[in-house]
């Protein structure tokens, strides 16, 4: 299977104005293949979002090497990295982050504005199809403020997947939803990701959501360690990575 992302000894340190540098992440080793289902759990402040930003090419590591589709991300020009992110990575945010004032259709079309090919000219049709896929074919022209939480997250999912990314990064995708809606939203993400064989990396507090993945990790004091399926935040550090073959394995 194709290696999408490969992190080797990745660390992230930030300079503080009134103190010594703060290390948020250190020594992160991770390999993500096409079709992988990963979950990462961790306490607040453990570095989950920082890791997601690194994996999503929105930030650069201060230590180690991070390769995306074979490219050393630190060697890429800013604009190349931006285009690579837009083309290959889809984000699902906890707070949905839908653009206010725009309808569901317009929100889903937005990523296609940054595509230079046929996708741009066919953006409306593509957006309609994906909204239909997530069950919102009848809410195309509804604005986010008139949609329920679950519907908003489905719009956000449609928007994240509209360019058929190979890596989906979901940051607490069900954090703002009730249990039942959260479950159906995750089912939807997995279903759509499955159709394109995209890898799905989910950051969550919720053990139930984490347990849906095939590979489980826990962030502890800035270090990424494998974890048992279903073990929530603060649980014991696992040694087995359930359901993962050796090729798609993780070196920790």
């Amino acid at each position: 299977m194709t290696v999408l992302l490969e992190a080797t000894g990745v660390g992230r340190t930030v300079e503080l104005p009134d103190g010594p540098p703060l290390t948020i992440l250190s020594g992160v080793d991770l390999t993500v293949h096409e079709g992988d289902r990963l979950s990462i759990v961790g306490r607040s402040g453990s570095g989950k979002s920082t890791l997601l930003n690194l994996l999503g090419l929105m930030d650069s590591p201060t230590a180690g090497e991070l390769r995306f589709l074979g490219h050393d991300t630190r060697a890429l020009r800013g604009s190349t990295r931006d285009r690579l992110r837009g083309r290959e990575i889809g984000f699902v945010f906890q707070q949905f982050n839908l653009l206010p004032g725009r309808t569901a259709l317009e929100n889903v079309q937005t990523p296609l504005l940054y595509s230079n090919g046929r996708e741009f000219w066919r953006r409306e049709q593509i957006a309609r199809e994906i909204l239909d896929l997530v069950g919102l074919g009848d809410r195309l022209h509804t604005r986010p403020e008139r949609l329920s939480g679950g519907e908003q997250q489905r719009v956000a999912i449609a928007r994240a997947l509209v360019r058929r990314p190979r890596l989906i990064l979901a940051d607490e995708p069900t954090g703002a939803l009730d249990l039942e809606t959260g479950g159906s939203v995750m089912g939807l993400i997995e279903e759509v990701a499955g159709q394109t064989d995209a890898a799905l990396v989910t950051i969550t507090h919720d053990p139930a959501i984490a347990s849906r993945s095939t590979r489980h990790f826990r962030l502890e004091s800035g270090r990424l360690v494998p974890s048992d399926a279903g073990v929530g935040v603060g649980g014991p550090v696992g040694v087995d990575v359930g359901g993962v073959g050796t090729d798609a394995g993780v070196s920790v």
Partner: protein, 407 residues
């Protein structure tokens, strides 16, 4: 194709932003539209006011380049008028000068209903009317056949006409010209009143006609005639010299001829410079105020849109794309505001209000709305949009994706 798609998608994004934020955009652009309207109106009205000034000036002292000659003898002896007239006619013919006029002042005694009155007359040649943009409210300026009339043709001012009871010129109204050799004058045209100060009757009469009746009414001319010619600007200086030389030669020994430009174009400085500077100064201040308002709103708006910019960056919007997108929003918006401002300005400048502002001066050649004013308005609006969009665009580029999404 890739570049075209990139450009189109940037404009599409800008238009979408304008549509979404139309309330804010409208508020900020109203200021720009008003500023552009004011700028364009000031420039357009300035051009019309300049034309009005020019025409008033041309009526008094001729169109550029009008050269005036005084001819006489150095000893002050009388020079035979017929000799000078012949020399003048010869000069005009020799140098192929189409517009030349003898110009002298005198008076005629006219019998009005209320009694006889002395009327100041200006004796001119037929070409004088076009040289001085003489306007008429009734009748026509002297034509070639007026020189052959037995009853001299008169073009009278409005006061003169009023005293006759404003008879229509097509009825060929006549007046009795008194004196030793009484004659009848036919009124062929009426010039409008020059203002409240214009209270005395005056008249234009053709030179040759005046020469025939003047001795009978007034003993001799009040002053010797001056000679005017209207020539192309670039020929003014060389023609002045050769005409002077030829006139002196015609008078003979002891003769002299002075020639000088009389029109506004002869002034070394642009007579409308102060007006132009004033207009430009006012316009620049207006536009700066509009730009400041726009910049203010644009900066506040970008701060309010940090999260949105972060989200767009996460979808793959590059820094340059965000920069041009924010810049384009401003440019597209101000361009539209500029077009609206110019349209309103055209309506204002072409309205009757403008005539009132000119103090009732009616123009001979009413200029259309100056194209340069419209171009200046739209270009300024777009430039202001680009300048006012620059700072917000730079601010938008500096947004860090992670911080923006958490904003």
């Amino acid at each position: 194709m890739r570049a075209v798609t990139g450009a189109v998608s940037t404009v599409v994004e800008a238009l979408e932003e304008l549509r979404i934020h139309r309330g804010r955009v409208l508020l900020s652009l109203i200021g720009v539209a008003i500023a552009v309207c004011a700028l364009t109106t000031v420039v357009g009205a300035g051009a019309i006011a300049e034309q009005a000034n020019r025409e008033v000036s041309e009526r008094q002292s001729g169109r550029p380049a009008t050269i005036q000659f005084n001819v006489g003898s150095e000893g002050g002896e009388a020079v035979d008028a017929a000799t000078i007239d012949a020399a003048w006619a010869s000069v005009l013919e020799r140098y192929d000068i189409a517009f030349g006029s003898r110009n002298s002042y005198g008076s005629l005694t006219v019998q009005f209903a209320g009694g006889a009155a002395a009327v100041q007359v200006q004796a001119v040649d037929q070409t004088y009317g076009e040289m001085h943009r003489v306007r008429l409210i009734d009748g026509e300026w002297f034509g070639p056949r007026d020189a052959d009339r037995l009853a001299p043709a008169l073009i009278v001012n409005e006061v003169f006409w009023d005293r006759l009871g404003r008879p229509p010129v097509w009825t060929h109204p006549t007046v009795a010209l008194l004196g030793e050799a009484p004659a009848t004058g036919v009124i062929t045209g009426v010039t409008p009143s020059q203002g409240e100060w214009d209270t005395e009757p005056t008249a234009f009469v053709l030179n040759d006609a005046y020469a025939a009746i003047a001795p009978a009414t007034v003993p001799g001319m009040q002053q010797p005639p001056t000679y005017e010619m209207w020539v192309p600007d670039e020929l003014a200086d060389p023609l002045t010299e050769v005409v002077k030389r030829d006139l002196v030669a015609a008078i003979g020994e002891g003769g002299y001829a002075e020639g000088w430009r009389n029109d506004y174009g002869a002034w070394s400085e642009d007579p409308f410079l102060i007006l132009k500077l004033l207009v430009v100064g006012v316009a620049v201040v207006i536009l700066l105020l509009g730009a400041l308002g726009l910049l203010n709103i644009a900066l506040v708006t970008v701060r309010a849109r940090i999260r949105e910019i972060g989200i767009r960056r996460s979808f793959g919007a590059t820094r340059s794309r965000v920069f041009f997108s924010v810049l384009m929003e401003s440019v597209v918006g101000t361009f539209v505001a500029g077009v609206v401002g110019v349209a309103v300005s055209i309506a204002l400048v072409q309205s009757p209000l403008m005539t009132l502002l000119l103090g009732g001066v009616e123009l001979d050649d009413t200029p259309g709305f100056p194209i340069e004013a419209a171009v200046i308005g739209i270009v300024s609006a777009t430039a202001v949009g680009a300048l006012a969009g620059l700072l917000p665009a730079l601010a938008a580029v500096r947004v860090r994706v992670i911080d923006a999404i958490r904003f």
